[in-house]
């Protein structure tokens, strides 16, 4: 799911796309940092670490290979703070494993974090619902939608960048994203189920800030 260094750097339009992606990523990260309350920092760190590791687990699937992203889950649990979490993980991936690359860092962060934010607004209510089925459905939808949106954004930026030769391959990959989206949805749904049992306050974001204070007072 990473656009790697040099793919878009060669053409004028590609550079514009890279610059636009980087600008949007900076904006998103700014908003994300403003909304990142100290109480939620550990959560962002853990999810960032999970994203970092999970993106390295490649499952071969003809003709390419896929890896989970967990961005849907990040969106539901972090909201806008998914931006800094994704950015940090991507920066380290670019530096340690040359996934993506530094020039494509901003665009990659936008491609992966923007769907997370969208999922936050679309599915957080459902995932935080009292009704277990609705919560699981919300988790699944968040996981799957994030992957599909990321795929769309990636294909879109490649085409905007004038990489027409990605056309047919892009089509194959677009089909490939569907099984990945299903898997990601299942993972997100089971994570939501787990969190609901163990620490329900992790998903219901507004409650989180209140709970520690109540505990402190009581």
């Amino acid at each position: 799911m990473h656009i790697y260094e040099g793919v878009l750097l060669v053409s004028e339009r590609g550079r514009e796309v890279l610059l636009a992606g980087a600008t949007l990523a900076v904006l998103g990260t700014g908003i994300g940092l403003r909304r990142l309350e100290p109480e939620r920092l550990p959560r962002a760190a853990v999810l960032s670490a999970a994203f970092f590791v999970v993106s390295l687990v490649h499952v071969p699937l003809w003709p390419s290979s896929v890896h989970l992203l967990l961005t849907g889950l990040m969106g539901v649990m972090l909201g806008w703070s998914a931006f800094p979490a994704v950015l940090v993980a991507l920066l380290l991936q670019a530096m340690l494993f040359s996934y993506g690359g530094l020039t494509a860092l901003g665009l990659n962060a936008f491609i992966m974090a923007a769907p997370a934010v969208a999922c936050h607004y679309l599915f957080r209510r459902a995932a935080a619902s009292e009704n277990e089925r609705l919560a699981l459905g919300g988790g699944f939808a968040a996981g799957a939608t994030a992957i599909l949106l990321s795929g769309l954004l990636m294909a879109g930026s490649l085409m905007l960048g004038g990489r027409t030769e990605f056309d047919s391959l892009g089509k194959i990959l677009a089909i490939l994203q569907i099984p990945l989206a299903v898997i990601e949805g299942l993972v997100a749904a089971s994570a939501v189920a787990l969190i609901r049992k163990v620490r329900p306050e992790l998903i219901a974001a507004p409650i989180l800030a209140a709970i520690p204070r109540e505990r402190e007072n009581g």
Partner: protein, 225 residues
Amino acid sequence: MDKRSADAKINAILCNLKFALCNLKFQIRNSKFAILVFFLIAAPAFAHGIRVSATVEGKVIRGRVTYQDGSPAKNCAVTGHDAADEVLAKTETDEDGKFSLEALWRCDYRLEADIGDGHGGEYVVKGSLLPGDLPPRENNPPPEAQSDTRDHRHVGGGSRNPGDENAWTVEQIRLMQAKLDALREKLEAGEKSIRLRDILGGLGYIFGVFGLYAIAGNYRKKYGH
């Protein structure tokens, strides 16, 4: 070598599957952290980057594209570029991750393997390894300017002396290939261990960055802004 690495891979996959099964049972009973633990354990077995390697035999560039764990990258597009980034040749890898390209020019071939989703690898085949009777590429330095031309000229049979053509016998080249393969295996093993360290290091960085941010936040809170 292939069989051994294949065996090792099957073992690793079986091990992971067993572990996953164990985890699934555990998860059904207890359902805590099983998913995360599975991913952490599975990471080194499946994790990959793309590695491209190639050698020259006459006018043909032969090579192989593999994932980090040594498994072949099947049906992966490979393109050869010149110094000006122009595409000189295109091909695809077979079931074994192997590919071959015919060199039409005597210049550095930058081989780019792309498995499609943004993961790819590169390898540069020096123009000096290619036979001298191929036309030079204009934007390339002339073959005479390259110092190591003499050493490799025989390999391609490119020397203008026909009697000299097989100065490096096929047997010798094979021997060399075997030695190179062994060396590559060693290198890959080394890289793998570095990789696990990188993953752990990366995790440390992530928590460190967020920790620093938390400290900064606390500082701001304490001294008011």
